[in-house]
């Protein structure tokens, strides 16, 4: 308890945190076990960093969701991206997180060391700039991310068309969060009582897309921000609904998240992308209508239309249990490889790569807490 509070103290008014924590204890039924999923990897990071598990009663369990873009990308798609980089004219560009995600033939960083032209960029617009600056090369952007990131890719493709560029394409791996939530709700080994909804994703899509969770599945949802107080308030909203026998969508993060989302972003998404019939997620398998595909009208910017990719489904290393952790069935230290073969220096699975991955967050913060005797 004390150690968790220490993290919180240095950050936010402890009296406010204390008030919310007290209210949480008041509404919780001590006879009941609560399982609440924080969907977003940013939330997972914040929860571990601030030791929030220690502020919550023991019967309120936080289950880490699939909202970490590099974590849910299956190995086969990493291989497909790297196959595009094998073309001698191609410069493959990707975000920094992506550089260390293992494919069958190594990570993008390792392939780069072996001679492939793979470059890290901070924005899809940087990839577009590379294409503009060197017409002799084809620049492909390895796009990953949820709805937070997908509008940036859409606007970049629209810009490429405006500029009339013919040496730029996108290898599109954008996924959408709502079908993953539905898949988790339909999963027979998953019993959840409610959700803390993602913050920045909801800035784009708003709160309406979560209404099916409340209506069809009768589970509460509270969209929340990333500060300790935001997260605790989000958890309290879910627990209050459960105490009252209600199920609705609430917005704790109103200062950033409009109920209707970001209209220009949604318009750009609809212009450039359509839903794929199905897409593979690491750990969750194939989920229908859960990912974005570049529309035929923009096929010249679609790397999958321009380059043949193997498209082979690759199973994860047998010993790694990324799938069970992504579904919230196991906690990171319950994986046989955790902290031994798989660590942030040498990640075997993608959950150890990104700071938003449950394993990396747990490795970085929770182990320290335990060592300190919290």
């Amino acid at each position: 308890m004390t150690n968790g509070m220490k993290y919180v103290d240095e950050f936010r008014d402890p009296a406010l945190i204390d008030r919310v924590a007290t209210e949480i204890r008041r509404v919780v039924d001590p006879q009941r076990h609560y399982r609440i999923m924080e969907v977003c990897g940013g939330h997972t990071h914040s929860i571990y960093r601030h030791g929030l598990r220690d502020v919550l009663p023991h019967n309120v369990e936080l289950v880490h969701g699939p909202g970490c873009p590099v974590c849910v990308l299956p190995t086969g798609r990493v291989d497909d991206g790297l196959a595009i980089a094998d073309h001698p004219e191609v410069v493959l560009t990707c975000f920094g997180d992506m550089m260390r995600v293992p494919g069958t033939r190594g990570t993008p960083l390792e392939r780069k060391a072996q001679g492939a032209d793979i470059r890290m960029v901070y924005s899809p617009l940087d990839a577009l700039k590379l294409a503009q600056d060197d017409p002799s090369r084809h620049v492909c952007f390895f796009a990953i991310g949820f709805e937070t990131t997908a509008p940036s890719t859409a606007l970049t493709i629209l810009r490429a068309r405006e500029l009339g560029l013919d040496n730029f394409s996108v290898f599109c791996n954008h996924v959408t969060i709502v079908p993953a939530m539905r898949a988790i709700l339909d999963s027979p080994d998953m019993r959840l009582d409610g959700f803390v909804g993602p913050g920045h994703v909801s800035t784009i899509i708003g709160c309406r897309p979560y209404e099916f969770v409340a209506r069809r599945y009768r589970k509460p949802v509270a969209v929340a921000g990333f500060e300790p107080l935001d997260l605790l308030e989000g958890i309290l909203m879910v627990l209050r609904q459960l105490a009252a026998g209600e199920a609705k969508v609430e917005n704790q993060y109103r200062r950033i998240v409009p109920w209707e989302g970001n209209v220009p972003a949604l318009r750009a998404l609809a212009t450039v992308f359509e839903l794929r019939p199905y897409f593979e997620w690491r750990g969750l398998g194939f989920i229908s209508q859960s990912a974005l595909k570049i529309r035929d009208a923009f096929a010249r910017y679609d790397a999958e239309a321009r380059f043949a990719v193997p498209g082979v489904r690759v199973t994860d290393p047998r010993a790694a249990q990324c799938g069970e952790i992504l579904k919230g069935v196991l906690k990171p230290p319950q994986c046989k490889l955790f902290g031994r073969e798989c660590n942030p220096e040498h990640p075997v699975g993608a959950l150890m790569v990104s700071s938003e991955g449950a394993c990396a967050a747990y490795y970085r913060y929770a182990r320290v807490e335990e060592a300190a005797g919290a």
Binding site: E10, F11, C40, G41, G42, H45, S46, R49, H50, G67, P69, V70, F95, G96, D97, V121, Y122, S123, P124, L125, D126, L128, K129, G145, F146, T148, T149, P151, S152, L155, H200, V201, T203, I204, F226, E227, R255, I256, N262, V263, P264, A265, A268, S354, S355, E356
Partner: protein
């Protein structure tokens, strides 16, 4: 990769879908096309993600976000990201 970085709009580019922002002293150009409905003015604070402003925020909230990045140990990465935007290094403000 999903944390948003707060910055203050200090000038517009000739193409008004781009604006120069100041992120804790680092000045770079970002795309503000997603905020066309709200409108953006010089002095406004925005949250930046992979080179695009995602939403407008109040000044106090912007400072909270910066503190959050620091608390999460991501402030250095965030600054590296903003400093790394190369798509419009020479855009000069006209505001």
């Amino acid at each position: 990769m999903c944390l948003a970085i707060p910055g203050q709009v200090i000038a517009f580019a000739d193409d008004p879908t781009f604006a120069k922002v100041d992120v804790a002293g680092v000045r770079r150009t970002v795309n503000v096309g997603l905020l066309e409905n709200e409108g953006v003015d010089i002095g406004d604070w925005v949250l930046i993600h992979v080179g695009f402003a995602l939403s407008k925020v109040g000044e106090a909230e912007a400072h909270d976000q910066l503190r959050l990045l620091t608390a999460l140990g991501e402030a250095t990465l965030a600054m590296e990201e903003v400093a790394g935007y190369t798509f419009a290094p020479d855009v000069e403000g006209r505001g």
